[in-house]
């Protein structure tokens, strides 16, 4: 009997220890930054990269506002519910005030709400326009551009270069993000005299796109435009190319995830395709030189978009803390709102009205394998522009 009781006690201690230890580690002077990344589950492919980028940034900057930084990894397993739960715990039990990262928009929107209601600061990589639109809040910032920006900075320069490419066909993921891309595209086409000859919606769980592609080919468009993100975009493009669409149609992928995506497509498919991207490692800017240098030095790889997104959110938080000179939340938010710094895409500025980071978005063109200078040199940068909805049009009221 005694034995069993001892075992039970030991088990109870075993369960309780992690939190005790965690508290012991949390030294008084360190600023802890919670990082929401999915390391297991469906979104692990995204979370892993973001996690690495953020960790390296923390290692690089080491301190902010004169205090050491500590990276607190919160594995949400791709589940927004779990993300909310971990955030609540981090705020309540550990007093963490600063948060960053997300692996999908649902997580970002849910965590943003939680952080706002308990008075913290959160910067993330959500794709959803609501983040700096109708669901924006005082405590949350977003690094990647909105769908409006992505469409305007890719389609406009493209149409300028090919004024004769009038007929556009779209293949769109039928959900909120894909629809926002499509809506913006229609607006731009309408304004510039392009013609939208047809759209195919596909669902979040489609993997076979040949039907949509056959429909697209039948419409004989000048341009095939893919309005989606992630692995579905990869699949649509791969199948479109296999159906020979590159022969007489130009392909524009409005929202790509850059290097990762190019690697999983291979150079043959990427050649001649136009990609929109939030980041490209070949861009010459002081912030990018720093980032690529550190990543090459520590990981011996070229930074991808996801890795950079992790870095960027960390960097922005560090810059805001430094500017505020303290870790007081109101001061940091204030510093954030007028922040401007040399980021991975050049000079990046935060807009106070909707908490959007104003940064370049790129139009990239896949180059032939023979012309690639190294194994990661998949594209040429065609244009780098900023285009943002005026603050009163975003739907955000702060």
């Amino acid at each position: 009997m005694r034995n069993r009781r001892e075992i039970l006690a030991a088990a109870a201690v075993g369960i309780a220890t992690p939190s005790l230890l965690r508290r012991a580690w949390a030294q008084q002077d360190a600023i802890e930054i919670g990082s929401l990344v999915s390391l297991s589950g469906t979104f692990a492919n995204i979370g892993e990269q973001v996690d690495i980028g953020s960790k390296i940034a923390i290692d690089h900057y080491k301190t902010a506002a004169g205090r050491p930084l500590r990276y607190v990894q919160l594995d949400d397993q791709g589940d927004p519910g779990r993300a909310v739960r971990l955030t609540q715990d981090a705020i309540r039990d550990r007093g963490i005030r600063f948060f960053m990262n997300c692996t999908n928009s649902a997580i970002a929107l849910a965590v943003a709400k939680e952080v706002a209601s308990s008075g913290g600061v959160y910067i993330n990589q959500a794709g959803a326009d609501e983040m700096t639109g109708t669901l924006c809040n005082k405590n949350t910032f977003r690094w990647p551009v909105a769908t409006y920006s992505a469409v305007n900075t890719t389609v406009r320069p493209f149409m300028k270069q090919f004024p004769d490419a009038k007929k556009w066909y779209t293949i769109t993921g039928q959900y909120v993000f894909g629809d926002s891309l499509l809506k913006n595209l229609k607006d731009v086409l309408g304004e510039l005299g392009g013609q939208h000859v047809g759209n195919s919606y596909h669902s979040l769980s489609d993997r076979e796109y040949s039907g949509f592609i056959t429909a697209a080919i039948a419409a004989q468009p000048d341009v095939l435009c893919i309005c989606n993100f992630g692995s579905q975009t990869t699949d649509v493009l791969r199948q479109a190319v296999s159906f020979g669409m590159k022969r007489n149609t130009k392909i524009v992928v409005v929202w790509s995830t850059g290097l990762d995506q190019f690697q999983s497509l291979g150079p043959d498919i990427c050649e001649g395709v136009y990609f929109g991207a939030n980041y490209w490692h070949g861009v010459d800017a002081p912030g990018n030189r720093l980032l690529t240098g550190v990543i090459k030095d520590k990981l011996k790889v070229t930074p991808s978009y996801l890795l950079t997104a992790g870095w960027a959110c960390t960097q922005a938080t560090v810059e805001a803390l430094n500017k505020a000179g303290s870790a007081e939340v109101p001061a940091v938010i204030k510093a954030f709102e007028t922040l401007s710094y040399e980021g991975p895409t050049g000079l990046e500025k935060v807009r106070a009205e909707d908490h959007q980071v104003l940064k370049d978005y790129y139009l990239l063109l896949g180059k032939p394998k023979a012309k690639m200078l190294d194994k990661d040199d998949y594209v040429d940068v065609i244009s780098a522009q900023k285009a943002f909805l005026p603050p009163d049009k975003t739907g955000c009221k702060l």
Partner: protein, 287 residues
């Protein structure tokens, strides 16, 4: 929408359907022979696709993988059967579902551990990298090659089922599982053969699909979902039913993507529900 577009859509649907057929036929065969519901079917498919990726990396072409990967998948299936699944034959179907489901998770996580979470590209073999054009209809040569293999597999299987002793048993077992014992077959060997063959078929589908879709750890899950829809629609255990259902789904999916793409999945699952509820033997099964 012109008639020509619809015809192209239907033709393309036949292509999709044939790919779905190879994917599903192993599942329906295992069920027909042994009344065994194999949730690990998608895992065989995925493991083989990853093997194809590795072989393509190593040799520079995915072609040798079309032979090697199915063998590896068969070995994997056989090993699973001997080490794990045979213990469930005496248990209810539910236990088999759960064990194979767990096996699928193990396979998925192991592959993630070895190859990472990011999707990988498997280049289309050089000789099939172009497109074929007939009339205004453009079709990738590689897909045509895949459809060709699928047709060959279907024919070979049809011959095997109609003309061989093993085929007689498959037919007998699909009618009545106890017949197998009465006909004097050693069920132990039959089950091993069924898993090896079913695994090889799933593996062939995986290796063929790798250049079409790339490889990623979750691909087994989707493949399983498609295979189940096909198998249930065709009637669990029915070979010709699987062929018919695969073609039907392929054509529906292809045409629906022109008419009402959002509804394609809803419709497919709706039909599946109705079939299960009102005609559980599927399209071709006898009730």
């Amino acid at each position: 929408m012109s008639a020509q577009v619809l015809i192209f859509g239907a033709l393309n649907g036949v292509g999709i359907g044939m790919i779905y057929f190879i994917l599903s036929v192993g599942l329906t065969m295992i069920f027909g022979l042994m009344q065994f519901v194999n949730f690990a079917h998608g895992a065989f498919y995925m493991v083989s696709a990853y093997a194809a990726f590795a072989i393509a990396q190593w040799t520079g072409s995915v072609l040798p993988a079309l032979l090697i990967s199915p063998l590896l998948a068969a070995a994997f299936a056989l090993a699973s059967e001997r080490l794990l699944l045979q213990r469930t034959y005496s248990l209810p179907h539910e236990a088999q579902i759960l064990i194979t489901f767990a096996l699928a998770i193990l396979a998925q996580e192991s592959v993630t551990m070895i190859f990472g979470t990011l999707g990988k590209n498997v280049p289309v073999p050089e000789i099939f990298s172009g497109v074929v054009i007939f009339g205004g209809f453009v079709y990738p040569s590689y897909r045509l090659f895949v459809v060709g293999i699928a047709v060959a597999v279907a024919l070979a299987m049809w011959l095997a089922i109609e003309r061989t002793r093993f085929g007689a048993m498959v037919r007998a077992a699909a009618e009545n599982a106890e017949m197998m014992g009465l006909l004097g077959f050693d069920s132990r060997k039959v089950f091993m053969a069924a898993f090896a063959f079913g695994g090889a078929l799933a593996g062939l589908a995986g290796a063929l699909a790798a250049p079409l879709r790339g490889v990623e750890p979750l691909m087994g899950r989707e493949a399983l979902a498609i295979a189940f829809v096909v198998v249930i629609l065709g009637g669990l255990g029915s070979f010709s039913g699987a062929l018919l259902a695969a073609l039907l789904i392929g054509i529906t999916q292809s045409l629906m993507s022109m008419i009402w793409p959002g509804g394609a999945h809803l419709m497919i699952y709706g039909v599946m529900t109705m079939i299960l509820a009102f005609r559980p033997t599927g399209l071709m099964g006898r009730s």
